[in-house]
């Protein structure tokens, strides 16, 4: 599904070139749940952003479903964001001015889904995530775990093929973190490909495979043996 070949990411300052990623090769198959780990500054988030088409690699090739994603235009990126990729962030990034219902509904609006169908889809998800009672609340009225739950709902409402999570539990305490991780695991079992960035060894165990990144290089890449 995803194929990265010799991906470089660097910034040029006046006298030197600073590498964030250096020659990263990575292949992710459909149905996998990959946890990218590594110390601060290793380039985990940058790698995730490149995969999510939020950032561009400085060099190398990136194939998404065998399409050369390193060559696509801005407009196509929007199309990928609409239909193939969902995001979850550490800071949740809900829209403060919209309530729970409306936040979840937003991606469907951009996809041009009809009102009735949208209603059904959102209602379905609210039900599934047990947040029907909260649908009229605004993000500031929710706890962190609930906000992340809404963010997950928003990310998957368009049934994307790929879900990218940048430290989804980073702003949550452990109980809420576990709740979110079990949810991700469940989604993965239902067939969704997930790539997450995490510092948390325990939460990495929820996935099927761990990629360790150090100083922009892939240091280790191994499957999770006893998945929790």
């Amino acid at each position: 599904m995803i194929q990265l070949k010799k991906i470089d990411k660097y910034y040029d300052s006046r006298f030197q070139r600073t590498f964030i990623l250096k020659g990263v090769n990575l292949e992710v198959k459909q149905g996998e749940f990959v946890s990218i780990m590594g110390p601060s500054g290793a380039g985990k988030s940058t790698l995730l952003n490149i995969i999510g088409l939020l950032d561009e690699a400085s060099a190398g090739e990136y194939y998404f479903w065998d399409e050369p994603a390193h060559q696509i235009k801005e407009k196509q990126k929007v199309m990928y964001h609409r239909s193939h990729i969902g995001f979850i962030f550490q800071a949740f990034h809900l829209i403060d001015e919209l309530n729970v219902y409306e936040n979840i509904e937003t991606p469907l609006v951009y996809r041009g889904v009809k009102g009735k169908e949208r209603k059904a889809l959102v209602a379905d998800l609210l039900d599934r995530f047990n947040i029907v009672a909260k649908k009229d609340l605004f993000p500031s009225q929710l706890s962190g775990g609930q906000q992340q739950l809404v963010a997950v709902a928003r990310a998957i409402i368009g049934s994307p093929k790929l879900l990218l999570a940048d430290e989804p539990t980073g702003n949550l305490h452990s109980e809420q973190g576990e709740m979110i991780m079990s949810l991700l695991k469940k989604l993965n079992e239902e067939g969704m490909t997930i790539i997450q960035v995490t510092h948390n060894e325990k939460f990495a165990q929820y996935g099927t495979r761990i990629v360790k990144l150090v100083d922009g290089l892939v240091q280790e890449d191994y499957p999770v043996t006893n998945r929790s």
Partner: protein
């Protein structure tokens, strides 16, 4: 546009209520000020446009002379085929008109029957036949009809002329547009006029020039093409001999207002001010909107990530700015409607906010709306839509660092204007107070003046006796010191001048004197100090052809003392007038005018109704009793007419009213300028502070106190206000000096006027920025530094 986005926009806007309010208020005030000036300028530019024949109406002139010989038009119509129609207008006659119990002295215009063909006055009511063709038929204005007949139909109503058996029959009511150069209360035909006032016929000959003449030329006729024929008529009838011949010419009526009545320069200045105010308000609005929308980068980033296209985002931001500017527009229209009546009162205009009367209004409003809405939307929309998703998610739209000089220049200009206007307000106020506090050198407190209205009386003999008796009654009252009749009062002198020739012993051969006709005891009654000779106060003496001059006149003549000098009026051999007294240079006119040489001419009237004023000097502190006394006299002797009176200083102070108007208008504009510059500063400071959030955080972490941070931020802005002050002072000093030159007696342009204006501007600026500085300074530095 989806309803969801609409909700999103509204919630986003409402979240920052203070921004929204300031932004809408600023643009609203700007638009209101612009609209009022725009309506005023438009009204001026469309003067007389209601006349369908405007292109072909011309006013006949003899050289530069505005009035023409009374017989000219008939001759032109006869001899010049290009002249299709025409009318004379004669406005020198007036008398009492009465309908049932309403009566008042009216200025009656006489016109030819072509009047209503040349001009297209819109009729509200039409009678039978041809308006005024039938003798004694008259057409009245809407105001006149309301005054006399209230809500009743005016057609067929008969107005009694004076107290005689002549009646004018109303045969039409017109609604004269406010921007018409030709205005009247009541018009009737020359034929009627000549019957009522036979002298009218006498002054319409080939010698006198009492009437105005308008002609309607055939379409396509060049006015110059008939000048020769006009000249021939003139030469055949009145331009005889070898003396200078005025050239007959035509003034296009469409240019009449701009060339003769209005001050085109002023209109253009007002137009420039209007556009200036509007552009400043718009730039502020755009700046503030941009600054504000930079705070929503995160929201934009999220939307991009979940799949919003560029078009979507741009449309959303555009809709928002169009929405906000529309509300501002509505507010502007509302404010303009509220303040237009006040403006009308100040400027004695009758402007209306009407889309039908002012056809440009709607397009201009739409233009302003689109311009502001699209500009304030486009810049942030394009900017935000283009930004990388990750950058916007991190909220890094605002680069750190200080704001460049060019951004400040606008605020500097705005504050310079505000400071100049504030100092102008102070100076005008100071000058007015200075003039009012001048010693007028007459008794301004104890003299009560009753206005006499002789036109009211049918039996003038009886009325005269009444006035005489009132004067005698008053004189015998213990409260009254002295009584006099007069044709003028201080502050109320006619512009009536003549040349007087001296007989020798004088520095000058002749002197130009302002003439004032007064009765016995005038100087005594007004408490005007006599410097030499006597002042018409001896009851037994006949003062015929005697003069009392003011000091200025005596100085000009160079006479050391009165000494019964003789002055001949008009020509060297003219009537001899004896100077018998000299009075102080008292304030017979406002302090803004140069003191002139004035001659008071003793007058006696056989009939007391010919006097204009009855002046009564009360003993100190009893002026209210005297007013009561006057009221009683009026009630007992002439219950049918109401007493109208004033105190001696009132008329003088009326001359300063014009400056009160100037003060008010400057005050209003200062307010607008202050509000706009504050909004400009607010927009700029919030932008500048948002760029320094990190710096503030770092300073605080390193131990800066809140007060120190506020001082740091404020000093940065106040520096620019100080620069505006430096720019504003010389400009306004020059302008105000020029303004003061127009006054004979002027106050000094004290330094404190500018200091006060500067301090005021500084104070307002401080208030504007302090709130934001305080908010920025009290923020938790952790927030600012979290993502670094």
């Amino acid at each position: 546009m989806n309803f969801l986005h609409f909700k999103n926009s509204i919630r986003f806007l409402l979240k920052k209520k203070s921004y929204l309010l300031i932004n809408i208020l600023g643009l609203g005030i700007g638009i209101a000020a612009f609209l009022i000036l725009f309506i005023y300028v438009y009204n001026d530019f469309t003067y007389n446009h209601f006349n369908k024949n405007l292109e072909n109406i011309y006013r006949v002139r003899e050289g530069k002379g505005e009035q023409t010989k009374g017989l000219l038009l008939a001759e032109m119509l006869k001899q010049i085929p290009e002249v299709e129609n025409g009318t004379r207008i004669f406005d020198w006659d007036g008398y009492r008109l009465a309908y049932e119990d309403v009566a008042s002295p009216e200025n009656v215009h006489y016109v030819d029957t072509g009047f209503f063909s040349v001009f297209s006055f819109p009729f509200i009511e039409k009678g039978t036949g041809d308006h005024i063709k039938e003798k004694y038929n008259a057409v009245v204005s809407k105001d006149f009809a309301e005054r006399f007949f209230g809500n009743e139909s005016a057609i067929g109503k008969k107005l009694q002329v004076q107290f005689g058996n002549n009646y004018l029959t109303v045969n039409g009511v017109v609604d004269i547009p406010d921007n018409s150069s030709v205005k009247f209360d009541i018009v009737t035909s020359y034929e009627t006029g000549e019957s009522i006032s036979p002298w009218v016929k006498q002054v319409h000959d080939w010698y006198n020039t009492f009437s105005m003449t308008y002609v309607l030329l055939k379409s396509g006729t060049k006015p110059e093409s008939i000048y020769d024929k006009m000249q021939q008529i003139a030469e055949a009838n009145f331009l005889t001999g070898e003396n200078k011949k005025p050239e007959m010419n035509l003034l296009a009526f469409k240019n009449y207002h701009s060339e003769q009545e209005s001050n085109r320069t002023l209109i253009i200045i007002l137009g420039v001010i209007a556009i200036g105010i509007l552009s400043i308000a718009m730039v502020n609005f755009i700046n503030l909107t941009i600054t504000n929308s930079l705070g929503r980068t995160k929201e934009i980033g999220v939307k991009k990530v979940v799949g919003a296209g560029k078009g979507f985002l741009i449309r959303q931001i555009m809709t928002e700015s169009l929405m906000v500017s529309f509300i501002a527009l509505l507010l502007g229209v509302l404010l303009a409607n509220i303040f237009l009546p006040q403006f009308n009162q100040l400027y004695d205009t009758r402007l209306h906010f009407s889309f039908t009367q002012n056809r440009l209004l709607m397009p201009v409003l739409v233009f302003i709306w689109l311009l502001v809405g699209l500009l304030s939307g486009t810049i942030p929309a394009v900017y935000l839509a283009r930004m990388g998703s990750m950058d916007s998610l991190r909220g890094q739209a605002i680069k750190n660092g200080k704001v460049g000089m060019s951004k400040y220049s606008l605020v500097v200009v705005q504050f310079a204007i505000a400071i100049a206007l504030i100092s102008g307000t102070f100076l005008v106020q100071k000058q007015i107070r200075f003039m009012i506090n001048q010693d007028p050198k007459f008794d301004k407190e104890n003299v009560v003046v009753a206005e006499l209205s002789g036109w009211e009386f049918k039996d003038l003999e009886a009325a005269s006796l009444k006035y005489k008796r009132i004067a005698e009654d008053l004189e015998s009252s213990p409260f009254v010191e002295s009584v006099c009749f007069s044709q003028c009062t201080p502050g109320n002198y006619n512009h009536n001048y003549n040349t007087f020739y001296t007989e020798g012993g004088s520095d000058v051969e002749s002197i130009h004197l302002r003439k004032a006709y007064v009765g016995r005891n005038y100087f005594k009654t007004f408490g005007i100090k006599l410097l030499d000779g006597e002042g018409f106060s001896d009851e037994t003496r006949n003062y015929e052809r005697n003069l009392v001059l003011n000091k200025k006149a005596m100085e000009t003549l160079g006479y050391g003392s009165v000494g019964d000098q003789i002055l001949h009026e008009s020509v060297r051999t003219g009537t001899a007038n004896k100077i018998i007294g000299e009075v102080e240079d008292f304030a017979y006119q406002g302090a803004q005018y140069e003191m002139q040489p004035v001659a008071h001419i003793f007058t006696e009237q056989e009939n007391y109704t010919n006097w204009s004023y009855l002046c009564v000097k009360s003993k100190p502190g009893t002026s209210l009793q005297v007013v009561e006394l006057l009221k009683n006299e009026w009630k007992t002797t002439q219950p049918e007419s109401a007493l109208s009176f004033f105190f001696a200083e009132d008329k003088l102070n009326e001359q300063y009213r014009e400056y009160e108007k100037i003060k008010q208008i400057i005050t209003w504009f200062s307010l607008v300028a202050i509000v706009l510059s504050c909004i400009g500063l607010f927009a700029l400071s919030s932008y500048a502070i948002s760029r320094r959030i990190k710096e503030i955080g770092v300073r605080k972490v390193n131990g800066a106190k809140v007060g120190e941070v506020i001082a740091l931020l404020n000093s940065d802005f106040l520096r620019w206000v100080a620069i505006s002050f430096v720019i504003a002072v010389p400009i306004s000093w020059y302008a105000l000096n020029r303004w003061l030159e127009g006054f004979a007696l002027k106050t000094n342009l004290s330094w404190w006027i500018f200091a006060l204006a500067g301090v005021l501007a500084l104070g307002i600026a401080l208030l504007t920025v302090s709130w934001q500085s305080w908010r920025a300074a009290t923020r938790n530095p952790v927030e600012a530094l979290r993502y670094e």
